[in-house]
Each structure stands twice: as structure tokens, then as C-alpha cells.
Amino acid sequence: MYWNEPIETLSRDHMHALQSERLKDTVGRVYQNVEFYRKKMQELGIEPGDIKTIEDIVKLPFTTKKDLRDNYPFGLCSVPKSEFVRIHASSGTTGKPTSVPHTRKDLDTFAECVARAICCTGGTKEDVVQVAYGYGLFTGGLGIHDGATKLGAAVVPISGGNTRNQLTLMQDFETSILACTPSYALFLGEALAEAGVDPKQLNLRIGIFGAEPWSQEMRTKIEESLNVTAYDIYGLSEIMGPGVAISCENQNGLHIAEDHFYPEILDPDTLKPVADGTIGELTFTHLTKEAMPLLRYRTRDLSSITHTPCECGRTSARMSKVCGRSDDMLIIRGVNVFPSQIESVLLEVPEAKPHYLIIVDRQGTMDTIELQVEIDDKYFTDEIADLEKIRKKIKQKIDSVLRIGVIVKLVEHKTIQRSEGKAKRVIDRRHI
């Protein structure tokens, strides 16, 4: 089922023409209105007239998170402030915050993309959508909210947290679609089991999860504990928010709303585009954004793209599930380690709970990596030898996947903090 069939099934030739037209328009606007881009283009010796088709995008300058900070709050805006109707922002945990203004048309596009996304997962106006993403400056809550409203579904704007209430309303309102972060979905699944509620008695059928990377094993666990089919929604506030891309029933990648956001995958070292199917840094260029259009914004998310047709009939480029962030990557003794690798291993070991904490430290010149895991209650035994067997089994699996030695530490049940938003998985003490 499509929300916007002509666009979602547009031929590749027509999409190419549409993207080329829109890129020319966007470049013209930023060149005229944004000093930052005008200067950058002049430095590169290019003018808007040099951009004739979408392929010419490789001539354009990049934009990074740092550029957003440096030009905070409105230095990259292409329209007068009076045209803003909403301003989202990220908290400045690592320095200055960043802001993302939207015009009326930008919010319409946002809602359109989210409506398409929910429709792509099988959602209709008959559904009750429980939005357990945080509302506020974070785009998750309001983004899904507006899209579900556009679709005509009944929205339950509960926001994140307050788990008991989530479970109550889920039952009383017969929620059929749950939207939240995957780690919170896992947490809700656990809470449901603790409350003794059989997930089959719920009306839930669809889960729309995103805003942090998650593994296939985590999907299986969520699908079982909540009795839903889980879909992956992708987005980032700098580009829009959730709805930039969505997985379909074939679960073979996420369809990108390519008529609004042009995707590229770049080699993280050379910043040159890589071939379809190769993992690299995902980069987006706004094609229709009015308030603050960004050229080649480097997301730091690692993914790959394919243009092969999907069985669902959608013709868009598909991005693979985000397999990590170039920021999250830990370099330990020269080896690249992604927390998502550890999570995948833990989900394969029934004796361990999927919650974990990585503590990286340095002893002398040697980096150490400690993994704290909780043993599943069902497997707790009174004999140390058996517990040690479990600990060694976890260690062996992790060591073989990461290819470095990890200290595995068993900790008491529930000592690892459960997260209601993005989970804190890594403590790096090396710089303290």
C-alpha cells in the first residue's frame, strides 16, 4: 500500500530528472542566500550554473556537524526568520547546540514523509499509534505525531518514559502501532513480561523503531516480546527527523524519500562516492528544504545503498540498516570495535541479558576493554564453576567477533541502567 504512489513508484529516469531539477533549484537558493555556501563554492571555483544534473553533486562542498555549530543559530538559513514555523535543536552536550528551523512547507514535507513511512509498514487510518518517542526539541515525537495525524490514524502522544502508563494505555486504547527507540521497545517488552501480560493479548501489530542502531537479534527479541512486526525508520534532525527512510515488508533495506533527500555513500577516508553495496558514510543533500537546506551533509552513520528494484514495487534507492556510527567506533589496541557487534553476540547467548556496559580504560600504554553483563535469572546457579563456564562462553564469543581480548564481568541483575531513550553503552575512561 502506498501513500503517494506516483512518487513512490516513479521510474528511475523520472526520478533522475526530478532530482536534477531540484538540486539546481536548491544550489541556486543557497548560493544566493547563504554566505557560508557561496564562499565554499567560490573557493572550489564553481557556480550554480555548473550544476546541470544530479551527478554534478560531487562538485559541491560538504557540510558537517561542526559547520552547523559554527553557524549557530541561523547562519545557514536560506529564508528570513519570519518564515520559520518551528525550530528544532539538539542539546549541546559536546559544545554549542545546533538548531534546525522549518518553514510551513518543510513541516508539510516532514509529515508527508512520515505518512509514507507508516503506510509502508502497513499502517492505515484505522490504526492507533502510540508515540513513545520523546516530544520536544528532539524530532522523534513531534515528527511521528504529525505524520500519523496526516495519515488519519489515532495518535496517543504519550512521549517516552512512564513505562507503567505505556502498558496501561497500550491495553486500554488497543494500540496497534508502537513508535519508539529500539532500546525502549526492548525495555517495554521486558516490563510487559514482568507485569505478566501475554503480548498476544495486545492489539499491537506494527513497531516503528529508530534513532539508534540495532541488530537483527534485537529485532527478533522485540518482535517476540511485543508480538509485532518491527520496521526500521531512519532519520536525523539535521536533515528532517524520522521518515528520511523506512523499511518495507521485505525487510531488505530502507526506502529513502529520494525526491526530498539525495543520498550518497562516501569512503570515510577519501570522501569519494563508493559503489552500490559498499559500506561508507551516509551523506544527504536537501532537494526541497526551504528554511535551512544542507548540501552533502555528512551524517557519520555507516550504511550502504542499492538501486535494485524492491518486490514491494517502490523504486527508490534503499539504504542498508545503519551498522554503526563512525563516532561510536572505538579504536582499542588499533582494532575498530562497534558496540553493535557486542550486542549481536549477547543476543545469541541466552544466558546473558542483552543489556551491557562497555568500559574502556588504559593501564600504562595498554587499552583494556571490560564488558559488564547481567546473567539471565533462569541460568543463575549456586555453583561458581557453572557461572564461570557461562562467563567464559560469553568471553570466547566476544573475543572471536572483536578479535581482541575482552574482560567479561558478570554483574548483579538490573545493575546496568535501562534506558528510556538512547542507551548509554560505553564509558571511555582513557581521556579522563
Binding site: I375, D377, F380, T381, D382, E383, I384, A385, L387, E388, K409, L410, V411, E412, H413, K414, T415
Partner: protein
């Protein structure tokens, strides 16, 4: 005789053990025997208590990982060679002792034993006139 033993997973950090004893104290549970097996990072606290149900509930409320296991309690005379006789009896039926703990007082020496087969152990102990 076969009795119930309560085991609790505790991290090997200061104060952790006291949190358990505090919870049991608040639940008015009395501990009659106790043993800790430890590694550098964690330990397993094994206890014989007067009201196991109350103890289980109190610790479950605090999210502890716990396990109730059947263990053997042998009351031996407090004389030289008693423990030796018990172990000999168990060995005669091929039973290994996973762990044990005990004390002696007032001429009696109760011993808590964990073996893989309690029934088989009891028969062997009866034959050796230890039960």
C-alpha cells in the same frame, strides 16, 4: 536429610553483602548457616534460613538473582573421623561433593553438602549409619 538452600548472586564490592543481610533482617528472616564462594568479581552467597519463602520474596523484590536448591544436611557426631566417614560413604556410590560447609558445637557437627544426586547420597549415608 534434604533441606532447601537459598543462593544469591552478589558482586564482590564493599557493602553488597550487607544489602542482602539488611533485606533479610527487615523481612525478619534468620540465617542458620552460611557460606560464600567467591571469584575476584562476584560471589555466590549460600544460606540456610528459617523461612525460605519470606527470604525469596524479600530478595526478589530487590531484583537479586536467586536460586533455591536441595542440599544434604548430615548431622555428624563431633568426633575425629566423622567427615572422613561421610566422604567415604559418598565416594562408595561415586558421588563427588561440589561444595560443603559446616561447623561443630555442643558435640554435634551439622554439615551441608551439595552432590549431584541427593537420593543416592542418602542411601549411602544410611548404609554407613550416618543418617
Amino acid at each position: 536429610m534434604i533441606i532447601k538452600q537459598l543462593s544469591v548472586f552478589v558482586q564482590n564490592e564493599s557493602g553488597r553483602l550487607m544489602e542482602v543481610t539488611e533485606a533479610l533482617h527487615e523481612a525478619n528472616v534468620n540465617i542458620s548457616a552460611l557460606n560464600i564462594a567467591e571469584t575476584a568479581e562476584y560471589g555466590v552467597l549460600r544460606m540456610i534460613v528459617d523461612d525460605i519463602e519470606k527470604a525469596v520474596n524479600a530478595l526478589k523484590d530487590l531484583s537479586y538473582s536467586i536460586k533455591v536448591t536441595d542440599v544434604l544436611c548430615v548431622e555428624m557426631p563431633d568426633v575425629p573421623g566423622s567427615l572422613n566417614r561421610v566422604l567415604k560413604a559418598l565416594l562408595s556410590v561415586d558421588l563427588n561433593v561440589a561444595y560443603m560447609y559446616g561447623y561443630s558445637n555442643d558435640g554435634k557437627a551439622p554439615l551441608i553438602l551439595k552432590v549431584v544426586d541427593n537420593e543416592r547420597a542418602q542411601i549411602a549415608l544410611k548404609e554407613a549409619e550416618l543418617e
